[in-house]
Amino acid sequence: MTDLPYSKPSSVAPGDKENESAGGFTRRRVLAGAAAATAAISVGAVDSPASAQTRRQDMVAFVLLSAALTGIAEGKLAPNFHPLPSPTNIDLEQSDPGSDPVGVKQEYFDWVNKRHQATFRRLLQFAKDSRNAADRAQAIIDKVQATPDTKYLARSIVSMWYLGAWYDPDHLRALVEHPSAAPAKFEVISPKAYTQGWALRVAQAHPMGFSEMQFGYWSRPPSARVDFIGN
């Protein structure tokens, strides 16, 4: 059941130059203070329609971000993800965010973008900025941990990939800062999201109620973990 985390595509879509206004916008955000950026972005993102190229670059960044935070390979989270020209020298324009038929990543991207756009843009920029770092995952994780806003949204994103469910970052923060016996609150994002949850694939199994395996598999040891999550 191994999907190679990366494989070179036969052809690469020609990349346009990064949309200047959108690109400048995201760079400006990182330089700006968090509060100022929040205000600026929520207006800007509504006003400026992102080009297809920008959306593509953002998705590449989202996959890189998600892989770093979850510990699950890019090619597993986003089948047919192709970092180009190479996994250690990633060009956001050239890279292919993947064309998997299930395509839960777009649903997740839109979900987060709709709820916490400003902080989300910062997380995406971390991924863009660290895309060619020697230890990309650690570089992204270090940046994410720097402020509570980014840290808790990052945790929400990890929970989303693992469980197909949304635990809001404000709630996660409250759970830590004001511990209570009450169970955590969450909502399942969609039936598709539930079936694409990674938590039990990390356990070398499958989401309960969504087995893609055959009769009797449970009487034999599972495949290696790398076959499930690429790591």
Partner: protein, 625 residues
């Protein structure tokens, strides 16, 4: 409410479309008898897509989650049972007093629970509410039918009016109908016999890696270690056996082989597990069986001659209407709570003031379950749970022995679903602990919050070592464990069931023995015990002195509602005879586990099915000749 002008007429009217109702309807339909089935719940949908969607989207994947009525209302509270036409209990209304899910709160709990302890089993309302069963198809062991004879020191026990030999062939027919996978040689224990050359319809379902880990540990049990069990047999007899299950191990009756979705409860996504909708479909295909859904039987009318003359119902399929059905024979096959409720509601203007079929005063009494004692921990080497059917094996050899003169027997279930339900919903709970630096699962004492590879390594380690075991404990039939009618009403204005329930000393001692067995098993397996301390306000909590220390124990429900219309040999102390025929009303039958005089430790379904086929045969041979 509009009333029907005339009654529906048929040969046999059946109330309830679960295992008993569906099987009887199908047998009668095949014999070209006209049957009408009244089902309180929703229509059986043409496919399970809506159920699956509701299951996937449910934050609490409890047994009821795929089915209607919705567990939660729009505000996120539990649906108010007084507004529901055909209500049902949920495990979410078994929580401590005073908060969400308060087990004693009639606004949250459909059952009006009077205690002193909660009745912890639930049921559903589609196809008799039986789709969320596990699939276990154990036969009773012969001793289970003769408890008074075998264990006269226990005053509550009675004998069944029939024995294992009377039901042996019916078990076989039931196994054929449900499609049971098992191995005959492996199932011969504690006196269970099969007809010569008998074979189960399908080969057994293979053991999981969790099962093998338990089996390995049992090999080194010593006589000394197992003395507390008070078995007659040496400890080498305590072994793991595959559990017969109505899950396909190969394609059977146009359904696929199990793909190990690990989701038998609440729903098999590929219907490799049998459920009564399959038999209902066969029944309606005979052309002689009609199912009226959203149709709640409200009154059993008895004529001057003592025979049932009609059953009145309320339909809520559209605007509420009342109606009636007239038949030669009536079968009440609701369940161990809804059946006595209907019998007790039917007072016939005072002629049956204590309820229909209740000359013995036994209707509603002797309510039993298999109180389920659950324990969990982390194994020393990976056992890879969350793979395969929820349960593939167990320990059945402790179901009978001389200890039964003193304490309840138990049967051991080996869970393949890790800590899924014991920590209130894994994989979510443990995942969130390590993502957000919390410790609800108790395995993240350092409250680490992890990302990336560390997160993957940690979760893989925790999940692959999760182990869960359960003990189904035999419960005595007790007169005061009882279903009566409450003053609280449902959405149709009918009285809701009121439950009084307790565990006898005998039953509690069964749980104590189960607790000791857990300790022994965990020691042998090298399991690090994480079984939660029982909270002070846990409704099912009770304290027992074990080896000079007070230990708090608790139980959950097994979903096995038994005993409220017991069968017997005599009219004065039982509701029905061995054919489940009312002593008081010749043309009335009560089918299902409500007729069980004692509950044994086996899941009741296969015995329900066997007795139902036997009842259908009796009706065809004698009543409708």
């Amino acid at each position: 409410m509009a009333a029907a002008e005339s009654c529906i007429e048929c040969d046999v009217a059946i109330v309830g479309a679960g295992f008993a109702g569906a099987l009887i309807a199908n047998e009668l339909g095949k014999a070209r008898k006209k049957v009408v089935v009244l089902e309180a719940g929703e229509r059986v949908p043409p496919n399970i897509n809506d159920y699956m969607k509701r299951f996937y989207m449910s934050p609490a994947k409890v047994p009821e989650s795929p089915y209607t009525p919705e567990v939660f209302d729009a505000a996120g509270s539990l649906t108010d049972p007084s507004k529901v036409n055909a209500g049902r209990p949920t495990v979410l209304s078994l929580l401590p007093k005073g908060g969400f899910g308060d087990w004693t709160d009639p606004k949250q709990s459909y059952l009006i629970q009077k205690g002193p302890r909660p009745f912890a089993s639930t049921y559903d309302r589609v196809a008799g509410g039986t789709q969320h069963w596990l699939g276990t198809c154990l036969r009773f062991v012969p001793a289970d039918f003769k408890m008074k004879t075998n264990y006269p020191s226990v005053p509550q026990f009675v004998d069944w009016p029939i024995g294992y030999d009377d039901v042996n062939s019916w078990y076989g027919k039931a196994e054929e109908e449900l499609g049971v996978s098992a191995d005959v040689e492996e199932q011969k224990y504690l006196g269970i016999q099969f007809p010569a050359n008998y074979r189960y319809p399908m080969p057994k379902i293979p053991s999981s890696l969790v099962d093998l880990a338990v089996a390995d540990a049992l090999k080194s049990l010593s006589a000394d270690e197992t003395k507390f069990l008070e078995m007659e047999t040496p400890p080498t007899q305590i072994r793991v056996r595959n559990i017969p299950a109505a899950r396909n191990s190969q394609p059977y009756k146009n359904r696929r082989a199990c793909a190990g979705n690990t989701n038998c409860i609440p729903i098999c996504p590929i219907q490799a597990k049998y459920d009564p909708t399959i038999t209902l479909n066969d029944a309606t295909s005979t052309g002689f069986v009609r199912i009226l859904d959203r149709t709640v039987a409200s009154d059993i009318v008895v004529g001057e001659n003592g025979r049932v003359s009609q059953v009145n119902f309320i339909s809520y399929a559209g605007p509420k209407t009342s109606g009636c059905v007239k038949a030669k024979i009536y079968v009440i096959a609701a369940n161990g709570i809804e059946t006595p409720r209907l019998l007790l509601m039917s007072k016939n203007g005072g002629r049956t003031a204590n309820g229909v079929a209740n000359g013995s005063d036994m209707v509603g009494r002797n309510l039993m379950d298999h109180p389920y004692y659950v324990a969990w921990g982390l194994t020393s080497t990976p056992v890879y749970p969350y793979r395969g059917p929820l349960i593939t094996s167990g320990i059945g050899d402790l179901c009978d022995g001389p200890f039964r003169a003193k304490r309840g027997a138990f049967r051991v279930d080996i869970g393949n679903e890790g800590w899924n339900f014991v920590v209130n919903g894994d994989p979510n709970v443990t995942t969130l602990d390590f993502v957000n630096g919390m410790n609800k699962s108790k395995v993240n004492a350092g409250q680490e919050a992890l990302f990336g590879k560390k997160l993957v390594d940690t979760l893989n380690d925790k999940f692959t070592h999760q182990f869960r075991v359960g003990f189904l404990v035999e419960q005595t039939p007790d007169l005061d464990n009882r279903v009566t009618l409450s003053e609280f009403r449902d959405g149709l204005g009918l009285p809701r069931p009121q439950i009084s329930y307790d565990l006898s000393h005998y039953t509690r001692q069964g749980i104590v023995a189960a607790h000791r067995m857990k300790n022994l098993l965990f020691r042998k397996m090298g399991v690090n015990d994480f079984t939660g301390k029982v909270a002070k306000d846990e409704p099912s909590r009770f304290d027992e002195l074990i080896d000079d220390a007070i230990v708090s124990l608790s139980y959950i429900g097994a979903g096995h509602i038994m005993g409220t219309c017991r069968m017997g040999a005599k009219k004065d102390n039982s509701v029905v005879n061995s054919f489940q025929q009312s002593w008081d009303h010749e043309n009335l039958y009560v089918a299902g586990s409500s007729t069980f005089p004692t509950g044994a430790t086996a899941n009741p379904t296969l015995t329900i099915a066997a007795l139902s086929l036997r009842t259908a045969d009796k009706i065809l041979r004698e009543d409708l000749r």
